[in-house]
Structures are given as structure tokens and as C-alpha cells.
């Protein structure tokens, strides 16, 4: 028995990979089976993540307002509650909200104006759910200090916060798997050297180092460029630990009979690596990588929170939370903490999902 976990989920995935005819159908039924065996927490996690990625993919549609538009008369406005309207009013809209009026400009205190109703409409003006006119906004999660809609900013912020994990993992995954597998396969002095280097990277005081490196990001850079700088810095720190795990697996594969056989048949080092070692560790590596996604989300949030990451007016969940750095804001406008809830839920979902996947791929659970 090989010590390695078998990198497969259900047999349908396997046959789909082999290229059977109805690939899509096979995959769909496999997904259905996976869904059936998944525990409740994993299902909820998948749903949460789907919603967040939908936010990222379709932000202009889902966000009710322009995320950078400043409603100057509605700064720090509390969340407005949508009400269900009476059936007679349904031609106007099924939902409505009462507009907010500032009654104390100094304390930024708002009261509901019950004399008027703002109608909410589905698929109106190219948004999923928005008010009849853009001048009468309904802030379901409140607004921030400059009068921008917090929910719209969160939806657009999902682009940065949800993608950073995927891109970061992709980089550290490909780097870690190629370096780790190579190192484990060749062994000897090169292996030793690479592993010492990995240890150096692993013993970095990562957050201090991250802060020092983040100083490189000039403030005038575009959001996309900043995003990639952050990803690059974090993957630079993150790939080493991953490479070590893969290296361990590859080293035990070096003397596995089928690798020996391939070598005896005259397979080149590249061929051994690409055809025999990397495919064997791929499944395990993918799960391991998915477990490291939360680290990237948290890292970006922390940097943006401290003002070193994504800059205004672009939004990420981290820099939205920066408003809460002022205790005054927490006290008077507690809804500034909402982006933190989104970060927590995203991290939680990835943790639950990763945990479940790890259990599924654990050879001890195969029967």
C-alpha cells in the first residue's frame, strides 16, 4: 500500500477525467452525489461562497448603487429596513422603505420620514434590486462617512477579497508543487539546499515582513496593480511551507515501484516529474491549497485595514473595515463593523469546506 491518499473523489470524477462521452452529465451526477454526502456545514459553506463569488462576478448587477457615488446629505446613515407593501401597492413595488432624514447634523443622527415611501424594484435600471430613482437611495446596510452605500461597496469589494485567495493559492500552488516535487524527486544536495531555503522563508516573522514589503506599493498605483503586488508578496511568503509538504510526498514516491519502473524504462527527469510524480500528489495538494485560502483573505484584509493595501475609492472588505479604526465610529455607527462579518463568514466557509474535503480525501475514510 502506498502511503499516499488516492487523489480521487467519487468514481464519476475519475471516469470524467478519462474522457468518457457524456462528460458534463457524469460530472453533474458526481457533484450531486458529493452534495448528498456533504454535512450540513459544508453545504452552507458552499452556498455562502457561491453567493460571494456571484457578488464578485456580477457586482454591477447586484450592487443597487454606484459604489463611489457620494450621497452628501446621507453620511453615516443607519441601515434602512425594507418593508413588504400591501398587495394593492404591488404595481409600485413589492417592497418599500421609509427615507431617512438627518435631524441633527452635528451628531449625524437620522430619523425615519414616515410621510413618504421609497419603492424598491427588481431588475430596474440594470440592477437586481434598487429604488425607483437613484436619488432616493435605500441603504440596506447603511452608508459610510462620505454617504456611499455600504452594501454596494461590499459587493464590489468581494471582487478583491474573494479573488485574492484564488489567485494567491494559484501562484503558491504552482510554485510549491513544481519546486517541491522536483526537490523530492532529485534528492541529494539540491534537495537539501532548496529545503534549507524553504525553512528560511518559513521562519520569517511573516506579518512584520509583509508590512515592510507592503511599503513598496506606491500609493498612486492602480487597484489592479496593487492587487497583484499584494498577491505576489503574500505568495512569496506562503509557497515555502507548501513546497515542504509536497517534497515529503515526492520523496516517498521516488522509490515507489511505478516511478522506479518509469525510470528503468528510460524516462527523463521531466517526464517522471510531469507524468508520475505531480499527478500523484495533485489531489492532496489541491485540498491543502484550499485550506490556505483564508490566510490570503485575512492577509489582504489586514493590509488594507492598515491602509497599506487596496486604496480608496476602490473597496475591499479590509479597507471598508478601516472606518472602525476610530472607536467613535464603532460607538455611534456600529454598522461599520459589517464588512468584518463578511470576512469572517468567507473565512469560516473556506475552513469548513476545506475540512470536509480533507476528510473526504483521507485514505483512512475509504472503504
Amino acid at each position: 500500500m502506498s502511503a499516499l491518499p488516492r487523489p480521487s473523489l467519487t468514481p464519476a470524477f475519475e471516469s470524467a477525467r478519462r474522457g468518457d462521452r457524456s462528460r458534463v452529465g457524469q460530472l453533474a451526477s458526481a457533484a450531486r452525489r458529493e452534495w448528498r454526502v456533504a454535512p450540513f456545514t459544508a453545504r452552507v459553506s458552499v452556498l455562502c461562497l457561491l453567493i460571494f463569488y456571484l457578488f464578485a462576478a456580477a457586482s454591477p448587477l447586484i450592487a443597487p448603487y454606484d459604489p463611489t457615488h457620494q450621497y452628501r446629505n446621507l453620511p453615516d446613515c443607519p441601515p434602512m429596513r425594507p418593508h413588504l407593501s400591501a398587495p394593492a401597492d404591488w404595481p409600485h413595488g413589492m417592497l418599500f422603505a421609509y427615507p431617512m432624514k438627518m435631524d441633527d447634523a452635528l451628531a449625524r443622527h437620522f430619523v425615519e420620514d414616515r410621510s413618504r415611501k421609497i419603492w424598491l424594484r427588481f431588475f430596474h435600471r440594470g440592477h437586481f434590486l434598487t429604488t425607483e430613482s437613484p436619488d432616493d437611495p435605500c441603504f440596506i446596510l447603511g452608508s459610510e462617512g462620505l454617504g456611499r452605500d455600504l452594501f454596494s461597496r461590499i459587493v464590489y469589494g468581494a471582487r478583491v477579497s474573494m479573488c485574492i485567495g484564488l489567485v494567491g493559492v494559484l501562484i503558491s500552488f504552482s510554485l510549491g508543487i513544481s519546486v517541491g516535487a522536483f526537490s523530492g524527486l532529485v534528492g541529494g544536495r539540491i534537495d537539501n539546499l532548496i529545503m534549507r531555503w524553504c525553512e528560511i522563508e518559513m521562519s520569517l516573522p511573516s506579518f512584520y515582513f509583509l508590512l515592510a514589503l507592503a511599503a513598496v506599493i506606491p500609493s498612486g498605483m492602480s487597484t489592479v496593480a496593487t492587487f497583484f503586488m499584494i498577491v505576489a508578496i503574500m505568495s512569496f511568503i506562503g509557497w515555502a511551507g507548501f513546497a515542504r509538504v509536497i517534497r515529503g510526498m515526492a520523496a516517498s514516491l521516488r522509490s515507489a515501484p511505478y516511478v522506479e519502473a518509469a525510470r528503468a524504462l528510460g524516462g527523463s527527469r521531466t517526464r517522471l516529474l510531469m507524468r508520475h510524480v505531480i499527478p500523484a500528489v495533485l489531489g492532496f495538494a489541491a485540498v491543502n491549497a484550499s485550506l490556505s485560502i483564508p490566510g490570503y483573505i485575512l492577509g489582504e484584509s489586514a493590509l488594507s485595514l492598515l491602509g497599506l493595501g487596496i486604496q480608496e475609492p476602490a473597496s475591499s472588505w479590509g479597507n471598508l473595515l478601516a472606518q472602525a479604526m476610530d472607536p467613535q465610529n464603532i460607538e455611534h455607527y456600529p454598522w461599520v463593523l459589517i464588512p468584518g462579518v463578511f470576512i469572517s463568514v468567507a473565512v469560516m466557509a473556506f475552513n469548513f469546506l476545506g475540512d470536509h474535503l480533507r476528510d473526504r480525501l483521507d485514505p483512512a475514510n475509504f472503504n
Binding site: 512584520y208 515582513f209 511599503a215
Partner: protein
Amino acid sequence: MGRFLLKRLLLMIPLIIGITFISFAAMSLVPGNFVSSLALDPKISPQVLKQMEAEFGLDQPLMIRYLRWLWQVVHMNFGVSLAYRVNVTNLIASRAANTVLLALASMILSWAIAIPVGIIVAVRQNSILDRTLSFISFLGMSVPGFFLAFLAMDFALWSGWFPVGGSFSPDYATLDTWSQVADRFNHLILPALVLGLAGVASLMRLMRSQILEIKHAEFVRTARAKGLSESRVMYKHVLRNALNPFVTMAGYGLADLLGGAALVETVMNLQGLGLLLLTAVRSLDVPLVMGSVLMGTILLLVGNLLADIALVAVDPRVDFSTLASQ
């Protein structure tokens, strides 16, 4: 032991040089320097700026600047902070003490909670209590430390029981010694709780899985067969062995703790190393950034070393010769 220590200490040298050089190079990649941020001030003439640049050695190429800095460090001189105009050593020493205090307090706190709870949960495996606590711990693991810090600030504001951020009260200097200690302690509780809670969940899970693994080991069966009481088996045989990875964790968890401490410090405005580093990074105060990074690295490396030494003391299967040959 001597050979092991020597090897580890020698290995630290290239490590420290590598880390500081990368940080140094990164800082120099930033357009502008500390002096150029002063250029916006019309009261300072261009000649003075040039003079300052030459005085700080900012007009030299990267390698020269780095080697100069390294030469100073070898002579135990960390330079003078450009922004504060104070010796970096003094500045960092007082701040690092605060950070270490916070890290230690939170570590003690999280162990004090996680180990007993982990034992209880493992003993009653698969009971309702076990499932609930495991679920809660998983939730707790996912809440970011900085968010917890915000919630703690909110709690402090709401309840009025704790000071809202800061390391000490404004009238700290006028207090007598005991009140000073009490004041510091009062300011430390909430941050330590925040930082400690983040670690509780993972420590608890580790404790649980450790005990479950050891519970069915052969030496435990032997102990039972000898007729030892259940509590004696648990505490003398199971627990003693289950604690081994915690010793290693203590050293390697230090990195997370330092990083976490930096964030909690910034959010709760504590006068620690993390906050110092952040302000230094923002103002491109190179000597201060380098000093903080160096200090953080040394804290981490020494922590790992101490953890390995402690492991030898606790675990008879590990000795210095095996550690040195790794």
C-alpha cells in the same frame, strides 16, 4: 547540547542577513525617501534637504547603505530614527517589552482555557458537549483577530469596564508603583483576551486529537492492565504525552502571535512593536523599520530555539544529537 546550540546560532546569521537585506531592498524600491516627504514643507530650503540627505546617507547606492547599516548593527548600534530623532535601540526596547508581555499573557490565557477544555471534550468524545464545543471552536478559529479586537473595543465602550485602547492611562506617570502595575494590567486584559481567544480554538482541537490518538496506544492499555486508576492513567500517561506538541507549538506559534499582536496593537492602539513598525513603514523611517524587523526576527528565532530546548527536556525520545542532525 553545545554543538546543537552552536549550529543553531550559526544558522541564524545567514537567516538574519537574508531577511534584513530583502526588507532593506524593498524599502529602497519605494519612490522617494524620508527627506522627500519633508520637501512639501516650504519652510525647509532645498539646500537643507540636500544636506539632510547626505547626513542620513540616503544619496548612497543600496549596497553601500545596507553594508553601512549592517556594520552599525554588528557594533550594536541600530542607528537613530529619522522621524523620532531618538536612538532606535531605546525606542524598540521599550516597545518590544510591551509586545512580549502581550504575547505571553495571551499565550498563558489561551493555554489555561484550551487544555482543560480539550481534555474534557476528548474524554467525552462524540457527546453533545464535544460536538457543540468543537463546532464553536471551529467558528472561533475563523473569526479574524482584528475583527475580534473591534468587537472588544465595542464591548469596552458599551460596558465601561475596560479602558478603550491604549497601554496606560493619561495620568500614568503620576501614579505610585502599585497603581501603575494595576493600570497596566487593566489595559492588558482585553487585548490579551482577544489575542488569546484566537488561539484557543486550534489549541483545543490539537489537544483533543492528541488525547484521542494516545488513548488507544499500547502503553495506555498496559497502564490500565497494571490496575492503575482511571485518573492516574489519564494524567500520568495520556496527558503527559499529549502535551509534547504543545511545547513545539509554543515556539512556532510565536510567529502568529507576533503578527496577531501587531494587528491587535494597531486596532487597540497599544504601544507595541507592531504599531511602531507600522508608523515607521508609513513614514519610510528606514532605521526604525529595519530595527523592528530585526527585533521581530530575533524574537521569533530565539522563541523557536527555546521551544526545541524545552522539547528535549520534556520528551525523552528527542535529544540534542537528533535535533542537531536534522
